[in-house]
Subunit: 205 residues, 4 copies
């Protein structure tokens, strides 16, 4: 009799999609708060108004929820980053484009990936998923190519990738903790560091 009840024509469909999202949201929060390893399916369910059995209508296990979150993240971020890099014709464009996209994405998703409040798990939960890693493998590949083409100086591509990844993750975490969450500032900082530094890096023989 309530309006929300009557209005929806395909209530079942909606509910089903909503439940999936409810579980995913709860999982994101729980993973952030307790860390992936320590989190249990129970914890996820408890963070939900659903019954325990319902979880298993959507996911077979904690791993599977994690995959789903991963895939969502990857689907959102990887194409953006790849596009930036492919469009780049100079080191500046390559570096600044990558960092701008990445920090912008993190800032946008801040709402969705609720900040880890009281982490019981001493290992930090990062958005450091295989898919994201795969995204950085793409970065590595593109850096190799760029170095081969002479766009970049002939430096250690693996270390350079690692450095960019490390800077991106750590600064983004710091950025998220700040009130302003200024993605542009973070991107400018990281970009300047690399543009200034890359030319000084040891050249490989």
């Amino acid at each position: 009799m309530s309006s929300s009840h009557e209005a929806t024509g395909g209530r079942r469909e909606l509910t089903k999609a909503q439940n999936r999202q409810t579980i995913l949201a709860a999982a994101r929060q729980v993973f952030a708060e307790m860390g992936y390893g320590a989190a249990t399916v129970r914890d996820i369910i408890r963070a939900t108004p659903l019954a325990s059995g319902t979880f298993y209508n959507y996911f077979k296990s904690k791993e599977e929820v994690y995959q789903a979150i991963r895939d969502e993240v990857a689907l959102a971020i990887r194409p953006r980053l790849q596009e930036e890099r492919q469009r780049a014709t100079t080191v500046e464009e390559f570096v600044s484009g990558s960092f701008r996209s990445f920090f912008a994405f993190v800032a946008e998703s801040r709402a969705r990936f609720r900040a880890p409040s009281t982490t019981a798990d001493p290992t930090r939960f990062r958005m450091d998923t295989p898919e994201v890693i795969a995204g950085f493998e793409e970065l590595r590949a593109d850096l190799h190519t760029a170095i081969g083409k002479g766009l970049f100086p002939h430096v250690d591509a693996d270390f350079l990738t690692a450095a960019m990844v490390g800077v991106a993750f750590e600064i983004s975490e710091r950025m998220r903790l700040r009130e302003d969450c200024d993605a542009a500032a973070a991107a400018d900082f990281a970009t300047a560091l690399f543009l200034g530094g890359i030319s000084s890096l040891p050249k490989r023989p």
Copy 2:
């Protein structure tokens, strides 16, 4: 009879210290392989020739083992890093001293912190413990001081700390995977990046 008694006494002491080390080594390996959160006391005991009850003669819980590992690490690395920074009179010394100490430490401990082989936990287990973090808080503090003293340009100290931490961790991981595990090369790379880049960083008002 007396001599055998004394020998036993000596062995006892040794055994006791050995058991503690046995547990710590097993815990390091298990944490690396499954992640801290997913690891259980059972897992640690299983990676040990000891009986389950024996564990509790040395540690009260998984957390306590973790503390002990942390403290070991911190005890080994933090004084080294602090000393490097306090000795530094230039940016070059500050940066290169920090990175050289850090990568040297990681290379040394490669044997002890067995490489995470097949990680079931998708979140990477880094030597990213609170104590190590605390070590980097010291770095942050020292950077603030150094900026205040004019040793460093007036950049965003938090972001710079984050960048150094991220580069240190990611490159050290990469380094550990390499056959040669060349700490000097890693340190040179990171140092060059920062020395070249720092002067380009955006200045704060």
Copy 3:
């Protein structure tokens, strides 16, 4: 419009009866493959193109499906066996009539009771249902009567019943596994065994 309506009506009736049979067939197969005890309503539904809720339009529970299968079997076999025995005027007719009817029935139903392929349940699922047992209780009663009337020698009727039941079940299982599935040969074997053996059986005081 009317014609399509009538056709649908006819199909409905058919569908309804078909659904019942679909469930029964699935249940027979599932019971045979997993054993009655281990089988779940879920398993039966899964072996069906129907939805879970539909099951409950036809049966209240696993037990009720079982009853239905039982009753079907009993309805088919018991009257036949009783008729054979009542018609019998000699031991030969009694014994050979019973075995011939039984093995013929099993051979006929081989198609319906699909052979248990890979039984997860180590206890064999036999067509050894209460109704069939009841059928053999009738055999016991009739044997008692026949012994009382002097048709059979004065042997232990319970043991004789048990022997006939055991031989019937075990040989029928063997027969079903054979390509030819020759009911007559099985009946001849069992009949000869009992006709030859009965006269040698220990007489009761």
Copy 4:
């Protein structure tokens, strides 16, 4: 302080062996009462004074308990039967030796395999385990040999095996239900049936 407490020197050892037996006994009873398929590990534990976790110190699953029971039975009965048959030089010895051993064994174990009281599962729980079946495969092989050697007439060995198995199982069940549980009478009955009947069986070409 109680005598039963102090008396036992190796209380641990004893308890451990006892617990295993406690679980096996409970399992035998539960399997008999509910059927193997319907029985749950919980049911077995509940039939025991032990804690739920203790079950898993001894068996990994319901299947494993079942295996253990099976193996016990097989270990006890198969050698006896084989010995009887190998010792036999006539049909009489072969048949009567087999039946006497089998019924004697069943009578002995009546205490251990508590009689199925109120079976919820309509499929009867027989000691009809793969190992026991394997025992009858040995019977089949020996019958083939005996027929080949001319000890037995040239009848259908598979059917004869099935008949002996069926008679053995069904009569033993009947026997167990009787107060006297007279193994000798059961053996005499079965032996007479077969000795009288075998010569009448249809000869194979």
